[in-house]
Symmetry: C2
Subunit: 97 residues, 2 copies
């Protein structure tokens, strides 16, 4: 399992729009081949702070996500709504094996 | 869905032991009532860096995890293996709803 944890801080006036864009991205991403999780999280401490937790069965399928129309639409839609550049951190999943 | 992302940095000489302790914790935690994910991740960039991604259906079930024997055993076993104090960050899961 290959996981990317994406850390995002959204400008306050775009929070609702960002959540809706992530809903659409979530709904399409969980239908991708090899997708295991596509969780959209909001910080319990700061409503501007979000995490996308994206897990795929292997690296090839994780990379393929960035070629999809729904990813590109999400990326372009939310580009101007962020308070700072987003940060994606890659991990290897150990368990579940 | 309530999620805690726990960030952990392990001393190099304890990495293998830490992975084994997390395997036992994972195997028991996924059997808890309300557990939705208990993913154990290792950074793709730094083998000392781990994440536990713990998701429960609600806050009560998330809190109950810390009362279990397997959590307490994990906590006590790994206490002296960390390079710095671990950090747990709470999130509300938006999607999946």
């Amino acid at each position: 399992m290959q996981v990317t944890i994406v850390h995002i801080k959204v400008l306050p006036q775009f929070i609702d729009s960002f959540v809706e864009a992530c809903r659409l991205n979530h709904n399409a991403s969980v239908r991708e081949s090899g997708n295991l999780r596509f969780d959209v999280l909001q910080s319990a401490e700061d409503p501007q702070v979000f995490v996308l937790y994206e897990a795929y069965a292997n690296e090839s399928q994780a990379a393929q996500h960035k070629q999809t129309a729904h990813y590109r639409q999400w990326r372009d839609t939310v580009a101007d709504w962020m308070a700072e550049p987003r940060l994606g951190v890659p991990y290897h999943g150990l368990f579940p094996a």
